[in-house]
């Protein structure tokens, strides 16, 4: 075993992701080269064999996530990493992983789309795709880090949530966080909590129901588990026409996430105590808020921020609470407005929701731009 030693390092976001995955228990990686996620595959290819794991480059993104799902059913914690175009190709299997309750982690290091777009430039255009990308009724767990240190923490958290809720978890990174190098402290490994999926007891045979989160056997353990992406009962037997079977299964699969939003949600509250203007941000864009909020505060404006570490399930209650306090909520994003609509929905008209959007060339929203927007909305743009 060769886990990273507790120490301070100067790492790239993608490297932090790979090291954290190994600490979190990941022992299988399959991926396909794509900017800006390739370094995760490269680090995993080097590091996983050292800890007895397997990293393989597959022929495309579909087979990458397919192999990850196979590995998960073979009992391993498994991960793949990609960017927008590959993430689109993985959607079919993301729905399958949801339907079959297969824990796995999918990293999407966002770049500028649609299509090939600006392949090496940062963007945040996949937020809605990470929630609604696959077909059918489903619920997603999506985490969004904003630093190399947080990439480490949220990668481990992604594995823990995947194992706990038996569902695919998406780590929604972006080119900036993926490629940025920062100081990072790796804590004592023993201090990091890792969760493992619940295994069935000898006589248990319902791996797809009865309980909210059923136990999960691995293949080859003698449980004769029947895994299918078709609608099935608690034993994995297909019911392709029965309306009740479908409602029961898909209802439970969604509820096991929707009923635990509070537990899953993770966010950072900064100065929202008595704010009149709120900023809601996530990922790389959120790095601009601190300076903007501080400078606006120095000018006597009561401004606070909420930074989402969990983007999905959307923390309606937290946003609603902010909307009750603030007159205006500013939502900066490197897209043409995605989380903006969610904020508007969740604030129920209690606050005016104002988007700040910037796309193209990987240009980040700067603290100055955000500050000017805050000043303008506070009526102080003289």
């Amino acid at each position: 075993m060769k886990l990273p030693k507790p120490d301070t390092y100067f790492w790239q976001g993608n490297q932090a992701c790979a090291e954290a995955a190994i600490v979190g228990g990941c022992r299988f990686f399959a991926g396909y080269p794509i900017t800006p996620a390739s370094e995760i595959a490269e680090h995993m290819a080097k590091r996983l064999p050292q800890v007895g794991g397997i990293a393989i480059q597959m022929e495309d993104e579909m087979s990458s996530i397919g192999a990850v799902i196979g590995a998960s059913w073979a009992g391993a914690k498994a991960m793949t990493a990609t960017s927008g175009p590959g993430f689109s190709l993985m959607q079919e299997f993301i729905g399958y992983a949801f339907m079959t309750e297969t824990p796995c982690v999918i990293v999407d290091a966002q770049r500028t789309g649609p299509s090939t777009g600006q392949a090496t430039k940062c963007g945040q255009g996949d937020v809605m795709q990470s929630r609604w990308g696959t077909h059918g009724d489903y619920s997603a767990i999506v985490l969004s880090p904003n630093s190399v240190q947080e990439m480490f923490a949220l990668t481990i958290k992604a594995f823990n949530l995947a194992e706990k809720y038996r569902t695919p978890v998406i780590l929604l990174s972006d080119e900036t966080i993926a490629h940025m190098r920062e100081q990072i402290t790796v804590p004592q490994i023993e201090s990091i909590g890792t969760i493992n999926r619940r295994k069935p007891k000898l006589k248990e045979n319902a791996f797809f129901g009865l309980k909210e989160i059923p136990p999960m056997p691995a293949v080859g353990e003698g449980f004769n588990v029947a895994v299918t992406g078709s609608t099935h009962d608690e034993h994995g037997i297909r019911f392709t026409a029965d309306p009740l079977a479908h409602r029961k299964l898909v209802g439970r699969l969604n509820n096991k996430i929707r009923n635990h939003v509070g537990e899953i949600s993770d966010f950072e509250d900064y100065n929202t105590e008595d704010c009149r203007i709120g900023v809601i941000s996530y990922g790389c864009t959120s790095r601009a808020i601190y300076e903007a909020v501080e400078k606006a505060g120095a000018k006597g404006i009561k401004v606070g921020s909420i930074r989402l570490k969990t983007v999905w399930p959307f923390p309606d209650k937290i946003v609603r609470k902010l909307a009750e306090k603030a007159d205006k909520i500013i939502v900066p994003e490197m897209n043409l407005g995605q989380i903006y609509y969610e904020v508007e929905r969740a604030s129920k008209g209690l606050a005016e929701v104002i988007p700040v959007n910037k796309i193209g060339g990987g240009e980040l929203i700067t603290p100055e731009e955000l500050l000017n927007k805050i000043l303008k909305e506070a009526g102080k743009n003289d």
Partner: protein, 275 residues
């Protein structure tokens, strides 16, 4: 041993969904007989992966075994993850021609190239049966299907030859009119290592036979028998002569290091060097 063979021992107590006269019954029977004759009283040493289509329902969920029923064409990638992590299990993929060499063809070629240690049994009914009989990559030239009402204007694929070119350790083709050869071939393939491929040309009376002009299942099986030529004989014939014939037999048998063997050797080395 064959005397005490009961197919029920290997099947869940569920009603099979296949049409009367479907070739799948023959293939299911041949496979489970092969397993039985190899001395396996149950399927505990196997894991089955399949995609979408009638033949993907052979193991899932009917076999009393671990089975993973994946999206269309994606059984081989899932089998890759399983086999790499659990090298001791016999991983068997069942799929149709549309599943394996249509939508999933790239995975098929790459698994053969990697020499992934799995057995792929492809039921080739020459048509997309489950969706009602559309043209497939294996549909004979000029055959009428629902999406080629004037006859197919494409050339069909020779999957068994493709497997050889891609690096398979074993590749064979039979028809449902050759159940004994099929059973023996399955027995042999199960005991071999590396990427193994068996194509079974099979009748789909519902979605193919009636449109292609066959009056009954017997006619289809007769057609298989008449069109089939052993590979040794075919080798001496011109391309023109074997056109529209079904070449049966074993196309390749060889030993190459599997990806699993290579990966675990690499891991061992990496762990020693990491100390």
């Amino acid at each position: 041993m064959t005397e005490n063979f009961s197919i029920r021992n290997y099947l869940r107590d569920l009603k099979l969904p296949f049409c009367p006269g479907c070739g799948i019954f023959t293939i299911m029977n041949s496979f489970l007989r092969a397993v039985h004759e190899l001395g396996c009283e149950d399927l505990s040493k196997f894991v089955f992966c399949s995609g979408i289509g009638c033949s993907s329902w052979i193991p899932s969920p009917y076999f009393v075994a671990d089975s993973v029923h994946t999206p269309h064409g994606r059984s081989i990638p899932v089998a890759t993850g399983i086999k790499l992590l659990r090298p001791k299990l016999n991983v068997v993929v069942f799929g149709g021609d549309g599943d394996i060499v249509g939508i999933g063809m790239s995975h098929f070629i790459h698994a053969a190239r990697r020499n992934l240690d799995i057995l792929v049994i492809m039921v080739n009914n020459m048509v997309y049966g489950m969706t009602g009989g559309q043209v497939a990559p294996t549909t004979p030239f000029k055959a009428k299907t629902t999406t080629t009402p004037y006859g197919s204007f494409e050339q069909p694929l020779d999957s068994a030859k493709l497997a050889v070119a891609a690096g398979a350790c074993y590749s064979a083709r039979w028809t449902t009119a050759h159940p004994n050869q099929l059973k023996e071939s399955i027995k042999k393939a199960i005991q071999m290592k590396g990427f193994r491929f068996i194509e079974v040309v099979s009748q789909c009376p519902t979605a193919y036979g009636r449109r292609a002009g066959f009056k009954n299942i017997g006619e289809m099986l007769k057609w298989f028998k008449e069109k089939a030529i052993p590979i040794r004989q075919a080798e001496k014939m011109s391309e023109k002569e074997i056109e529209r014939r079904i070449v049966i037999g074993e196309f390749v048998q060889r030993r190459r290091p599997t990806i699993g063997e290579n990966v675990y050797a690499m891991i061992k080395e990496a762990q020693v060097n990491a100390r």
